[in-house]
C-alpha cells in the first residue's frame, strides 16, 4: 500500500511569509509525528498526534509553529512569519500505535527560507 506522503517535497519562501507543510499518513495509522532535521543534524521532535488530538506538542520551538490533524488522517504543519533558522527538512511519520510498532516516515519537505 501507499506510504507516508509529504508535500511539497521542496519549498522556498521569503523571510516573514507563512508556509504550510502537509502530511498524508498511512491509512489506518492513528499516531502521527512531526520532526525537524536541520542540515547535518539529528531529528528534533516537534509534535505527536493520537487521532486528532496532540498529547505532546512540547517540541514546537515557538508560537509561530502550529499543527493540526483532521479526520484522524491528514496533518498540516504551519510556520508563520518564517525565519532563516526555520530552514530544515521537516519529516512526518505515522504508526498504528500497536505496542512497539515502528514509525513509517515520509520523504520530508525541505524548507528554505531566504
Amino acid at each position: 500500500g501507499a506510504g507516508v506522503s509529504q508535500s511539497p517535497s521542496n519549498k522556498v519562501t521569503e523571510k516573514g511569509k507563512d508556509v504550510e507543510l502537509r502530511c498524508d499518513p498511512i491509512s489506518g495509522h492513528t499516531a502521527l509525528y512531526w520532526y525537524r532535521q536541520s542540515l547535518g543534524q539529528g531529528l528534533e521532535f516537534l509534535i505527536y498526534f493520537q487521532g486528532n488530538s496532540a498529547p505532546d506538542k512540547s517540541g514546537l520551538p515557538s508560537d509561530r509553529f502550529s499543527a493540526e490533524r483532521t479526520g484522524g488522517s491528514v496533518s498540516t504543519l504551519t510556520i508563520q512569519r518564517t525565519q532563516q533558522e526555520d530552514s530544515a527538512v521537516y519529516l512526518c511519520a505515522s504508526s498504528p500505535t500497536r505496542r512497539n510498532s515502528p514509525l513509517h516516515f515520509g520523504n520530508g519537505t525541505r524548507l528554505t527560507v531566504t
Partner: protein, 114 residues
C-alpha cells in the same frame, strides 16, 4: 527525561568488513524499546532493527545485529559484510511505552570504502 547519544559523528569501513556503531541512552522507565534507522541521501528513514527492553536476546536482521546491554544502557549496531548500499546516516532512538515520543540520537554518518 529520556536522552539518546551517538558519540561517533562519522565512521568508515572497508567493503565486506564489519563495523559497529555506538549508542547510549538514559531513561528511568522500565518499559521501552530501542531501534536503529538508516537515512540514505534520498532522506527516506528506513527501519533497520528494533529491540524491546524486556527481551534479553539481541535482535538480528540478516547482516545487522545489536548488542543490547541494558544495565549499561548501551545499544550498539553491528553491520557485518558491509556493502556499498549500507552507506547512510544511522540514527539510534528510543521510545517509552505510554509516552509515545520517539527520541533520536544525533546520527552517525557511515561511509563504505570500496
Amino acid at each position: 527525561a529520556q536522552t539518546v547519544t551517538q558519540s561517533q559523528p562519522e565512521m568508515s569501513v572497508q567493503e565486506a568488513e564489519t563495523v559497529t556503531l555506538s549508542c547510549t541512552y538514559d531513561t528511568s522507565e522500565s518499559d521501552y524499546y530501542l531501534f536503529w534507522y538508516k537515512q540514505p541521501p534520498s532522506r527516506q528513514m528506513i527501519l533497520v532493527i528494533r529491540q524491546e527492553a524486556y527481551k534479553q536476546q539481541n535482535a538480528t536482521e540478516n547482516r545487522f545485529s545489536v548488542n543490547f546491554q541494558k544495565a549499561a544502557k548501551s545499544f550498539s549496531l553491528k553491520i557485518s559484510d558491509s556493502q556499498l548500499g549500507d552507506a547512510a546516516m544511522y540514527f539510534c532512538g528510543g521510545l517509552i511505552q505510554g509516552a509515545q515520543k520517539l527520541v533520536f540520537g544525533q546520527g552517525t554518518r557511515l561511509t563504505i570504502n570500496p
